[in-house]
Amino acid sequence: MPKGKNILTTDIVKHVATLAKLDLSAGELKSFQDQLSSILHLVEQVSKVETTNVEPTSQVTGMENVMREDEAGVSLPQDEVLRNAPRKHKGYFVVDAIFED
């Protein structure tokens, strides 16, 4: 069990599970609470680095403005697109009904 302030509450773990569409048992909830907290704790150490004069970045390649011209090419044939689909119907992927109303 990590020490420090970054202990995730059960509510946060439940919320993250909901976002990930996971149902967690009470045991799993506890287990993930510990594991996720450990990860946060580990990553927290990064905040010790002096960053006053460092510009934030989300990229490490140094590349910018990588784009392609607007040219349409060939797509996959429909049967290829659907090849790994567990359920299909008349060229469509099939999932359990999503109710919108």
């Binding site: 910018e64 784009m67 607007d70 060939v74 469509y92 359990d96």
Partner: protein
């Protein structure tokens, strides 16, 4: 009852009509094609596929932003918006979060006053214009007795621009006018069909209501989706405003939620599936390097923006001394405006006597078929008609007498003070002369002879 004031903001999605999709080379021309025939590993979200932004889509997004008076930040990037839904194969949508391509714009709208004379101008601020990708399309069906949803990913990854206004709108009519104007600008730029029936322009009003005396924004807002016409948007907004006022009058703050619009019943309904708090966990898209503009790139894009409706209207009124009404109608479609200017150019070149007003009338009132009648042909038609219009007074006199003789009842009615009777007689004269005479002249002559 306390004085309530609606607070309305708009989110508009516009699908760009590029040749290829936003991040892959699949054709973006998906409408009406067989399902799942415009797909590849990138737009199906298969592992390892690498998205590469479509330069034209990005430039069009920036140009739209410029046309809406936005600032174009030098630096911009894409982000991932995470959520699970069957139409989103990657589990996230590539969008833009905190550094969109365009920020802080504005669009001026004009609202006609109730007496149809006064015009009120208002600035609606644009918060941002950003680039993202469309999702797949869901169809709901019953297959082998089971209710299912069918997914077609042809639309997945089609370039989508989102325009977000500040909550500056106060009435449903302001919203309608704003949307029409935005639609006009998009059509002028030629970057989208903006066809609402096909879903290439989608409207999402955010509505809340507060006390007029309260300077703060309301603590909630309701988003309405599934709207595919300007008038439906207006109706949905009015429905929501009334619903909120009723709730607020009972001391209830309306629930913050997403609702759908059902046109048949003229009501909005709660969309339960989207009710849970949305938490998109945006983070920078690691697969796409950021975008940094040079000043020359920005000015180059700016120079590619065509004359926009407002500028064209002002120029038509100035250069051709047209009324605002004529200028507005002529510029409604870019093609009509171009046609009008072509005709004008030829008239000027040949030192013709036809006025801009006459040409405008022919195009507006006679609804000249500009796709069939060439500008030369139109000038010929106008010249011929105007020659015939100088029908001799004698000839006209004969026809007027004939009309009077044939319609004794109308004549009697007019003598008895029924002004409409004269209009009927004028109509008869116009019919007899096949519209070759001036209406006022015919009216005057009729009055004289009665």
């Amino acid at each position: 009852m306390p004085d309530f004031e609606p607070v309305i903001g708009l989110e508009i999605h516009v699908e760009l009509k590029t040749g290829s999709k936003m991040f892959c080379g699949c054709s973006a021309d998906y409408f009406g094609h067989d399902p799942n025939t415009h797909c590849c590993p990138v737009c199906l979200g298969l592992p390892g596929a690498l998205p590469v932004p479509n330069r034209k889509a990005v430039e069009w997004c920036v140009m739209l932003g410029m046309a809406l008076g936005c600032t174009i930040p030098e630096f911009s990037k894409f982000d991932r918006k995470n959520y699970f839904y069957p139409d989103l194969p990657k589990g996230y949508q590539i969008s833009q979060y905190d550094q969109p391509f365009c920020v802080n714009g504005k669009l001026k709208i004009k609202e006609q006053g109730t007496n149809n004379k006064e015009q009120r101008e208002k600035i609606i601020r644009i918060r941002r214009v950003h680039m993202e990708e469309d999702t797949g399309k869901l169809l709901h069906a019953t297959v082998e007795g089971k209710k299912v949803s069918l997914i077609d990913f042809n639309r997945s990854g089609v370039p989508l621009v989102e325009i977000v206004t500040e909550p500056d709108i106060r009435t449903s009519e302001e919203a309608r006018i704003f949307l029409k104007k935005l639609h006009h600008v998009v059509r002028y730029l030629g970057i989208s069909d903006a066809d609402m029936e096909k879903g290439s322009m989608r409207l999402e009003p955010n509505i809340s209501v507060k006390l007029k005396t309260d300077g703060n924004l309301p603590p909630y807002k309701v988003e309405v989706k599934n709207i595919n016409s300007f008038n439906f948007a207006k109706k949905a907004i009015d429905f929501e405003i009334n619903r909120h006022i009723e709730l607020l009058s009972d001391g209830i703050v309306p629930k913050q939620e997403t609702r759908g619009w059902e046109e048949k019943k003229g009501v909005t309904y709660s969309q339960r599936s989207k009710e849970e708090a949305q938490d998109y966990r945006y983070f920078p898209e690691p697969d796409i390097p950021p975008v940094r503009w040079t000043k020359s790139q920005i000015s180059n894009l700016k120079s590619q923006i065509c004359e926009l409706p407002d500028q064209k209207i002002a120029r038509f009124m100035g250069d051709y001394s047209l009324s605002e009404y004529d200028a507005v109608v002529l510029t409604d479609e870019k093609e009509t405006a171009e046609y009008f200017e072509n005709v004008m150019k030829q008239v000027t070149k040949n030192k013709g006597q036809i006025t801009a007003k006459t040409i405008a009338n022919w195009i507006i009132n006679r609804k000249a078929d500009i796709s069939k009648v060439s500008s030369e042909e139109l000038i010929k038609q106008i010249s011929q008609k105007s020659q015939k219009a100088t029908m001799s007074d004698d000839e006209l006199g004969q026809i007027v007498k004939k009309v009077l003789g044939a319609n004794p009842k109308a004549v009697a009615d007019y003598k008895a003070g029924r002004k409409n009777a004269l209009m009927f007689l004028v109509g008869q004269v116009m019919k007899e002369t096949k519209g070759k005479v001036n209406i006022e002249k015919a009216g005057l002559l009729l009055r004289d002879l009665i």
